[in-house]
């Protein structure tokens, strides 16, 4: 067996191979890093792609919805044209006839011919016989008028009534108009009033209709109120709204009572009370302002009346509504670029506005709070307030009683640990005495905490005594005694200094606190004074409210009535 001993081995090749391997590894690593970066890029690209894909899908859906809506709208319109096309024609004709009658340039024959033709073309539509009524009435054909009227009322009693009432007003036929108005009122349900009622009410109030209609309205309003006030629920609902209205009217400028705000723990309650008391003045001005109106609104009302008339004539009939609604929805989808959801919510909002029906008392409250929003003017606001007067007064009484009952009996104060309370700040002397006692006690307690340093003094005495005894009055003994004495003297003076400092700090705190207390008391006096003053205005407002009678609004309308004659 041969045994080979390796005495020398050349490892340089292995070494170089290893180092080249290392270099290779590094390259691989770098490569791998590059791959990672690429992967990240790829990932973000993919994300972007998926996002844009989602966008694309969404816009595609919208686009398709848009296209669909456009096609549907076209189809629906065609459908509408086929089924109710003649309605549109009747409406156009009605507008023309009304204008023609008004100017008087259309011959009786033409009128008769066209209206009768309409009658044939538009079965079931109330406006057709209504136009026949109009034309036969103009040419004094009583027989036809009555027949056409019966038919028109059969088709749609309410709309015919409103239409003829408004047309008669426009033509200045007061008696006929009055008869129609009577019928119109019979149609109204005080629990469920239409939106346009407020405009009719406004027109009657401002004197656009003849004077007799005023009495008619009053009689109806009276019986409605009788109906609605049989139970408390309707009035209570209004009272809650009025109370809320009163609560929001008061305000208090911040920093009027800065000290109470900082030092009175019950300031929040105090603030609420004074804010509510401060509402009366603003309310008094508010109500006076309603009744001190001089503007003549009758012109605007006349325009509104004509608007109702033209809406009545141009608006869609109930039969057409389902189709018209679909057309409207598709229109909105187109308008919203295919966004169905947005279109639907818009549609719901629109519907809500048109569907809104309210009971009479609620209508009055709406008109009293915000006449513009309900389509009324200040004149109707005044009317609404005067009709609502009994429960406005009741609500105001309850509102006033509530905050008067909740007023804090005392103003509580916590000033730097000193707790007290004062009813109205008139007890300043007692308060200051109490304050003084508090701080004297406080000072006494603090000084008690500074115990006299007996130990150190005793230690000093021991040192002096010991050194005198040990060194027998030698120099060392005297030095020792002096050291002992120094300790005693130092201790006592330190104690005195501490005592003095405590007294100084506490006196400073006391003086500051006293100033604050005086300030708080002064503010309390002001607060109670202001509260009493503002609270007394409740009685002034009450008088203003009590002085409101329906007489007020009729006088306004009487003035305007003379200005206007039926156009």
């Amino acid at each position: 067996m041969s045994q080979r001993v390796i005495s020398y081995a050349d490892l340089s090749r292995i070494n170089s191979a290893l180092s080249s391997l290392k270099t290779d590894m590094r390259e691989v690593n770098i490569e791998l890093g590059g791959l990672n970066t690429k992967h990240d890029h790829l990932k973000s690209d993919l994300l972007q792609l998926s996002l844009s894909f989602a966008d694309f899908v969404e816009s595609d859906i919208k686009h398709k919805a848009l296209q669909l809506a456009e096609t549907r709208q076209g189809n629906l319109k065609q459908d509408l044209q086929i089924k109710f096309g003649y309605y549109a024609e009747v409406r156009r004709m009605a507008t023309g006839i009304l204008q023609g009658v008004h100017t008087g340039i259309i011959g009786d024959d033409t009128l008769r011919h066209t209206t009768e033709e309409v009658m044939i073309k538009a079965p079931n539509y109330w406006l057709a016989p209504a136009l026949v009524v109009l034309s036969s009435w103009i040419r004094d054909d009583k027989n036809t008028t009555e027949k056409a009227l019966a038919e028109s009322l059969k088709r749609d009693d309410y709309k015919t009534t409103l239409f003829l009432m408004l047309v008669m007003r426009r033509l200045g036929r007061n008696d006929a108009c009055f008869q129609w108005m009577n019928r119109y009122f019979l149609h109204q349900n005080p629990h469920n009033l239409d939106r346009e009622f407020v405009i009719i009410l406004e027109a009657i109030t401002t004197g656009v209709f003849q004077p007799a209609s005023h009495q008619l309205m009053i009689n109806n309003v009276k019986s409605w109120i009788t109906q609605l006030t049989q139970t408390d629920s309707y009035i209570d609902k209004q009272k809650v709204q009025w109370t809320h209205f009163f609560e929001t009217k008061g305000s208090l400028s911040s920093k009027k009572y800065p000290l109470l705000e900082e030092f009175a723990p019950n300031w929040d309650n105090l603030k609420t009370s004074v804010i509510q008391a401060r509402s009366h003045h603003a309310l008094d001005l508010h109500f006076k302002n309603i009744f001190e109106t001089t503007t003549d609104y009758s012109k605007a009302t006349k325009i509104q009346l004509d608007e109702i008339l033209s809406l009545l004539v141009t608006n869609f009939d109930d039969d057409e509504l389902p189709l018209q609604n679909e057309v409207r929805l598709n229109q909105l989808i187109i308008q919203k670029d295919g966004d169905k959801k947005a279109a639907q919510s818009l549609m719901n909002e629109e519907k809500h506005i048109f569907d809104e029906k309210v009971d009479f008392l609620q209508m009055l409250t709406n008109a009293a709070f915000n006449p513009e929003l309900t389509g009324a003017t200040k004149v109707t606001q005044a009317l609404a307030v005067s009709i609502s007067q009994p429960w406005i007064v009741e609500a105001h009484d309850s509102f006033t009683a509530k905050y008067r009952n909740e007023i804090e009996e005392n103003v509580d104060l916590i000033i730097d640990g000193f707790k007290t309370s004062t009813p109205d700040g008139s007890d300043e002397t007692e308060q200051l005495q109490k304050h003084n006692r508090y701080w004297t006690d406080f000072l006494e307690n603090e000084l008690k905490k500074l115990t006299f340093p007996f130990v150190l003094i005793f230690f000093g005495i021991i040192i002096s005594a010991a050194s005198l005894i040990i060194f027998k009055f030698g120099i060392m003994g005297i030095i020792g005694a002096l050291i002992g004495g120094l300790i005693i003297w130092n201790t006592i003076s330190n104690h005195k200094k501490a005592k003095k400092k405590t007294i100084e700090t506490i006196m400073e705190r006391k003086n500051k606190s006293k100033e604050v207390l005086r300030g708080c008391i002064a503010e309390t006096v002001d607060y109670r004074q202001e509260f009493a003053q503002e609270d007394a205005k409740a009685e002034i407002l009450r008088q203003t409210l009590m002085s409101i009678t329906p007489e007020d609004f009729s006088s306004t309308s009487r003035d305007t009535r003379t200005i206007l004659q039926p156009s």
Binding site: Q230, S386, A401
Partner: protein
Amino acid sequence: MAKIIFQNETLTGTAEVGSASTKILSDRDILRKRSEKYLNLIRTMDTELLIETRGKKDMMTKIHEEFGSAQLADLPIGILAKCYLGHPHEVHTLDLSAGQIIKHYIIGELLPEHFEKARTLAKHNAYFFVEVYKDKLILIREDGTAAKL
């Protein structure tokens, strides 16, 4: 005509129809203006009739007259008013259910059940007196008008 419509009387009239059928005292009823006779009765309560036992009976009849058709349960428990006997007297009660008809209370003295909640308002100058009910307070002004809390 227009003037009459909106006055309290009309409203009371309608409320009576409702309350007659339902037997529940409506707000219209409870808030109607109090009669001068009733107000006078309360006004003189401090000074007259109270010493004698006859006074109480007399007073109860008059009060029942004022509340008319109302059920016994709908009657106020009592009346709380400012006391004019002078300091330290603050308020006095007219207890319609208990034996002792009138009692004067001084500042800080606790009032019987239900009456305490009316104390602040009874002291207020705007109100003449307060009718205390189990579930509500009715504040009566000098002119007899009522407010509910």
